[in-house]
Each structure stands twice: as structure tokens, then as C-alpha cells.
């Protein structure tokens, strides 16, 4: 998509390039706010939502409530983390939903009626995910073909393969060893494993992206692939790695899915690709690459799942739920955009008094 790449098109859209060269001269605090504002506004929306729901129904935040919130969002946060890494490189991975489904089913048939432990399952899921990611990644990076088309194709291929394999079979929770199910429902010190795992993956990814050359190079590639090539960045390898990572995370999430839900049919996470992409977009990552952080994407994922839970708890008429979710979603991205626009405009005006 060529939208929003540094264009000043349209009188109303304002100029996104309005960050002053003399930003230095503007008070530091303001400049810093701008840098963080992406995560701030989404985080703010999340806090508002949670507080509002809690006021209306205090049981929303009791022990079971918090646990449910964390558990519900854990897998989406994971997927959003993986997706962000790909989106940062100006690519997209629409096949995640299918990968989760395939991996969950594969892991399910692997452990069904056996006594394999959680580690084996997670390894299997991850390996399968890496494989899928490598195929997409190889096509995108070495085949130099548009990511959206390739991964949409992969979405169909993997989904078809998964369905053909399962062909109506289903993994029953009863057949899954308890040690695996424990991973999905158990926890340490009352905190369930799943959110802990997601948080760990998220933190490591964020740290890598911020503090390692490889991570910075992903930003560079997304910002300008052409410049990245000229700067001697191993473009193809990095993009391939990004896809492998996204695939690995999705495969891993598939294994967790099995652990959490026990009952699995081949279309687990069917249609999640758009949810994951919206989490990423709501979280402030530019779909054109190079901008945003995984923290934002994680906040976006949290916001989306919390919205769903909150509406049920608020006893909203189920026929209205989806419409309200849509409005909230649009409100969140609009607010984010407006805040950012206002700040950059304000900064521009202070540049040269």
C-alpha cells in the first residue's frame, strides 16, 4: 500500500513530515511525548475501557475475571508480536490463522492418546510454524513477489491442507494428556502460564528489535527496502528470518491453543488473520513498515480482546455487540491519529517562532 508514506497529499491530511529539524529546540518533554504517543493513546483507551467496565460491574476485575482477561488475550498478543515483526519489514503475513489451525491440529494428533509432554508439543508446533514461515518467507524474499498475495495464497493452501488432513476429525480434550492441558490452565503463584509465556516472548522481541543490529535493520528494511539494499543489509535473509519468526510464533501459538482449549478442529483460529492485523494496526504499527513497536501491537491485541469481554460483561444485547466493537475500534484508531496529528502540528509551529 502506498498510503501515508510521507505524502503531503490532501489538504486535510496535513503533512506527516512535519517533525521539525529543530525539534531539539522545542522542549524535550514534548518531543518525547510525541515519540511515545502511539502507545500512550492506545494504552489510555485500554485503561478507560477496563475502568469503565469495572465501575459498571466490579466482578469484571475479580480474580477469575483478571485471569480470564489475561488468558483470552495471551494467544492474540503472541500472534500480534509475530505479525509486527513482519509488518515492520513492510510485509504482511496473512497465513497466521491457518498456521495456528494446522499446528494445533498436528499437535493434537501427535499427543492424542499418547503421553508426550508439553515440551515436545511446543517444539513440534514451533517447528511446523517455522516450516510454514520459511515457505512464505522464501517466496517473498527470494521470489521477490508481493507479500500479501503470497501469504493469502499460503492461507488457502495451509487451510486446505489442514482441513483435508482432519477431514472432520476432531481432537478431544479427553485424549490430550493432562500435562499438556495443565500448560493451558495451570500457572505459577496464581498467574496462568499462557500470559506469562506471551509476556516473555513479547519482551524479548521488543528488546531485540530495539537493541540489536538485526532488529534495527528490520526497521530499516521496512522504512526503505531500496536504501537497505544499498546500505548492505542482508535484506532477503532478514525478511526470511522475520517470516520464520512469525511462523514460529504462530506454530507455537497453535500448540498453546491445543493446551488451552483441548478440543481442536482443523479450523482453529480460522479467520484470525484480520483480527491479528487489526491488533497490529490499532497498536500503531504502520502497514507500510518501519514504524511502531511490538508493545503497541500487544496493547492493540489486549484492547481488542478486552473489548469483546467487556461487552459481554456489560450485558450488551448480543445483536449490538459487534456494531459497538466496530465503533470502538474506529474510535480508537481515529483518536490515535488525531492526537498524533495535533502534536506534530504543534511541534511544527514551535520550530521557528
Amino acid at each position: 500500500m502506498s498510503t501515508g508514506t510521507g505524502t503531503s497529499a490532501g489538504p486535510g491530511t496535513g503533512t506527516p513530515k512535519a517533525l521539525g529539524p529543530d525539534a531539539e529546540r522545542a522542549p524535550r518533554s514534548l518531543a518525547e511525548t510525541v515519540l511515545r504517543v502511539r502507545e500512550l493513546s492506545i494504552g489510555g483507551a485500554l485503561v478507560l475501557l477496563v475502568l469503565g467496565t469495572w465501575l459498571a460491574n466490579p466482578s469484571f476485575l475479580d480474580g477469575q475475571g483478571v485471569e480470564d482477561l489475561l488468558l483470552n488475550s495471551a494467544i492474540l498478543v503472541l500472534l500480534a508480536t509475530g505479525q509486527s515483526v513482519v509488518v515492520l519489514t513492510r510485509n504482511i503475513d496473512l497465513s497466521v490463522g491457518s498456521v495456528v489451525g494446522l499446528s494445533a491440529f498436528a499437535c493434537g494428533s501427535f499427543v492424542s492418546g499418547s503421553d508426550h509432554g508439553p515440551v515436545a508439543v511446543l517444539l513440534l508446533g514451533t517447528a511446523l510454524g517455522v516450516l510454514c514461515g520459511l515457505v512464505s518467507g522464501a517466496l517473498v524474499s527470494f521470489g521477490q513477489v508481493p507479500a500479501l498475495v503470497v501469504t493469502l495464497g499460503m492461507l488457502y493452501v495451509l487451510q486446505g491442507v489442514g482441513h483435508a488432513w482432519a477431514h472432520g476429525d476432531q481432537i478431544n480434550a479427553a485424549d490430550v494428556p493432562d500435562s499438556v492441558l495443565e500448560l493451558g490452565s495451570g500457572g505459577v503463584l496464581g498467574v496462568p502460564y499462557l500470559p506469562l509465556i506471551s509476556a516473555a516472548v513479547l519482551t524479548c522481541t521488543a528488546y531485540y528489535l530495539r537493541s540489536y543490529r538485526g532488529g534495527r535493520e528490520l526497521y530499516a528494511i521496512g522504512s526503505s527496502p531500496e536504501a537497505a539494499r544499498l546500505a548492505g543489509i542482508p535484506l532477503r535473509r532478514r525478511v526470511l528470518a522475520a517470516y520464520a519468526f512469525s511462523g514460529a510464533v504462530a506454530g507455537f501459538a497453535g500448540a498453546l491453543w491445543l493446551a488451552r482449549f483441548g478440543t481442536v478442529v482443523a479450523d482453529a483460529a480460522n479467520g484470525w488473520e484480520l483480527t491479528v492485523v487489526s491488533a497490529v494496526v490499532v497498536g500503531g504499527l504502520a502497514i507500510t513498515g518501519g514504524v511502531g513497536t511490538v508493545w503497541g501491537a500487544a496493547l492493540g491485541a489486549l484492547l481488542l480482546t478486552t473489548m469483546g469481554s467487556a461487552l459481554v460483561v456489560l450485558k450488551v444485547n448480543p445483536f449490538w455487540e459487534q456494531a459497538i466493537t466496530g465503533v470502538l475500534l474506529l474510535a480508537a484508531i481515529c483518536a490515535d491519529r488525531v492526537v498524533r496529528h495535533r502534536t506534530t502540528e504543534a511541534l511544527r509551529k514551535r520550530r521557528r517562532p
Binding site: 460491574n57 466482578s59 469484571f60 477469575q64 475475571g65 480470564d68 483470552n72 482441513h163 482432519a166 477431514h167 472432520g168 476429525d169 476432531q170 478431544n172 480434550a173 479427553a174 490452565s185 482449549f261 483441548g262 478440543t263 481442536v264 478442529v265 482443523a266 479450523d267 482453529a268 483460529a269 469483546g308 469481554s309 459481554v312 460483561v313 456489560l314 450485558k315 448480543p318 445483536f319
Partner: protein
């Protein structure tokens, strides 16, 4: 206002919408039934489930396909991988093109499949609905697992007994538009009107879209939103399994009653660990078996789908076509800790 009125006058409104339904069927029905005709050899039958990868539908269809082997027919299962209202239509069209002898369909949407099914009947292809009905003009027979009324009322009756006729209850259904679900829910509501249930209240109907994960979260939401909730009824196999999993793994276990329709293999664990006391379901294999024989009898001319006609359904013995071309399988089985190990499906 004027134009509106004019349009109102000259326009096509609901009242003058003509329904030529049935004319196709009448044509087919004019043929006379010959109860003594033997089942034809080599009949071509096609099962068109709601969704090809739904485990429950698969059991039904496989049993039906096996049954076809008994009388020397050839049956197959084709269908979409999503349960969309419209996605069955193109399959009906191709089945017509392939000149099958009979189409057996579990309709995703009673209206959407109607037109193409009529086209099929015009071409002398027999149409049997099972599991989920279409309009009675658009098929010759409907093999009903149990009467909708029985299912709906008995679910309330069983649950009420478990609760001592007191407390808030909620329903976890499949999609908002599932015909059979909505029919059952209507009967449940009707049953609840009776004075015996005056202390019971249906607080909400939630929709899990027959999606495991969504059903799971909907259960969560229900219990959170209605702290006084005493029972959840989920008349769908996907929903009840998901609900059982959530309740079984949460602090609500043992405090909230779960009842509904489920398969023994899915529910065995939760019956054994005490999350669920009982649930019910008919035998899906028998449903497929009966449907298969009914279709064969139709195609062989033994019956035409008129009320009162009789045909023999293999091991299941003789069956009679009821009102509106309905053939009823029989009352559902109630599964509990005592009998669950006798079943494997």
C-alpha cells in the same frame, strides 16, 4: 410522502409476493407410490452436510454412506468447508448436473437452498433433508432426529429437575441464524412459560457461532455478567463441549449446571470429573442410516413423501412418513455417568 405513497401503491410489497412453491413438488408427487417396488440397484446418492469438516455431520454422513452399501447404492459426501447460507447452493447445482438420484441435505439456511432444490426435483432428483430442515415444499422428506418440540421441552425439564425448578438460566446457542437451534429455543421458552417454572428465568441467549473458542469465551462472559446464573443449556455439540471445558477449569465447577446436546466422546471427561451430570443426543449414525434408506425408498418409487406411506429402513425396521413429510428417528438418549461408556461416537 407522495412518491412514497405512489411507490407503495404500485410497488411489489410482501402481500402480493407470489409463491409458486410446491408446483414443482406437485409434479413429482403425481407419480404414484408403489410400496412393493424393490430398492433399485446402483442408486447414486449425495450427502450435502452443513459443513464438510464438522465432526458430528461426518458421523451422520458416513453411516449413511455405509448404509448405501447395504442396498447396493453408491453414496458420497460433498460440501462446503464453511457453514454459510449460500455455500451449499453451488453444490446442489453441480449435483443436479451430475444427475444424482437423490440429494440428502442438512440445510444451512432453509430459504437459500430452496430454489435450487426445486430445480433438482423438477429434474426428478429426490430430495431428503436431515438434521436441519428446509421448507417443506423444497424437499420430499425430512428425517428429523427427534421432534423439535421434544428436544426443546425435555432440555428444560431435565435442567429444571437438576436445579430444583429454581434459578437463573442461560442458553448458549450456535449461530444467530441456525434454524434448528432457533426452533428448539422457541420451544424452551414456551416450556418456561408454564407455572412449574415460575422460579426459573432465562436471562440471556448467547451465540458461540459453533466456534469452539468463541463459545468458550461466551460462557466466560455469561458467568461473569450474571453472577446468579445457575445453569447453562447448550443445544449444540460444539457449544456444550466448550462450555464444559471452561466450567470444568474454573471456580464455577460444581456450582453451575450444564446441560444440552453433545457427543459422548467429547463429553466423557466432563461427566467423569463431575462438571456435567447429564446431556442428551440422538444416535447420529442412526440418523444417517435412516436418511440413506429413506432416500433410496424415494428413488425406487416405494414412497413419494406423502403422509402415511411406509418404508423399511434396514435394521431400523419399518418407518412411517408423518405430517409434512417428516420421519422421526426417535427420542434422544440421555447420557450420564452410568451409561456413557456404552457409547462410542
Amino acid at each position: 410522502a407522495l412518491t412514497l405513497a405512489l411507490a407503495g401503491c404500485s410497488g411489489t410489497t410482501k402481500d402480493d409476493a407470489k409463491d409458486d412453491a410446491g408446483s414443482a413438488k406437485e409434479g413429482a408427487r403425481n407419480a404414484k407410490a408403489d410400496p412393493d417396488a424393490p430398492l433399485k440397484e446402483g442408486l447414486k446418492l449425495a450427502f450435502l452436510p452443513k459443513q464438510i469438516n464438522n465432526p458430528y455431520e461426518k458421523i451422520v454422513d458416513e453411516a449413511g454412506i455405509e448404509a448405501a452399501g447395504e442396498y447396493g447404492g453408491q453414496a458420497k459426501e460433498v460440501g462446503p468447508s464453511d457453514a454459510k447460507a449460500s455455500s451449499q447452493v453451488s453444490y446442489i447445482n453441480t449435483l443436479v448436473q451430475q444427475r444424482q438420484d437423490a440429494i440428502l441435505i442438512a440445510a444451512n439456511d432453509p430459504n437459500a437452498v430452496c430454489g435450487p432444490l426445486k430445480q433438482a426435483m423438477k429434474r426428478d432428483i429426490k430430495v431428503v433433508a436431515y438434521d436441519s430442515d428446509t421448507h417443506k415444499d423444497c424437499r420430499q422428506l425430512f428425517i428429523n432426529q427427534a421432534s423439535s418440540e421434544d428436544i426443546g421441552r425435555s432440555l428444560i425439564q431435565h435442567t429444571a429437575k437438576q436445579l430444583g425448578h429454581k434459578g437463573e438460566i442461560a442458553i448458549l446457542s450456535a449461530t444467530q441464524n441456525a434454524t434448528n437451534q432457533n426452533a428448539w429455543i422457541e420451544f424452551m421458552k414456551d416450556e418456561l412459560e408454564k407455572p412449574a417454572y415460575e422460579d426459573m428465568k432465562l436471562v440471556k441467549t448467547a451465540y458461540g457461532d459453533d466456534d469452539d473458542q468463541k463459545s468458550f469465551q461466551e460462557t466466560q462472559g455469561l458467568l461473569k455478567a450474571y453472577p446468579k446464573l445457575k445453569a447453562v443449556i447448550s443445544p449444540t455439540t460444539v457449544g456444550i463441549a466448550a462450555a464444559a471445558r471452561y466450567i470444568g477449569g474454573s471456580s464455577y465447577k460444581g456450582k453451575v449446571v450444564l446441560n444440552g446436546l453433545g457427543t459422548p466422546n467429547q463429553m466423557r471427561k466432563y461427566v467423569k470429573n463431575g462438571t456435567v451430570e447429564q446431556f442428551s443426543l440422538w444416535d447420529p449414525e442412526k440418523l444417517g442410516y435412516l436418511a440413506s434408506y429413506a432416500a433410496a425408498s424415494l428413488s425406487s418409487g416405494q414412497i413419494t413423501g406423502r403422509e402415511g406411506e411406509r418404508f423399511t429402513a434396514g435394521e431400523l425396521g419399518e418407518r412411517t412418513v408423518g405430517k409434512d413429510g417428516e420421519v422421526i428417528l426417535g427420542p434422544p438418549t440421555v447420557f450420564d455417568a452410568k451409561n456413557i461408556d456404552d457409547f462410542d461416537f
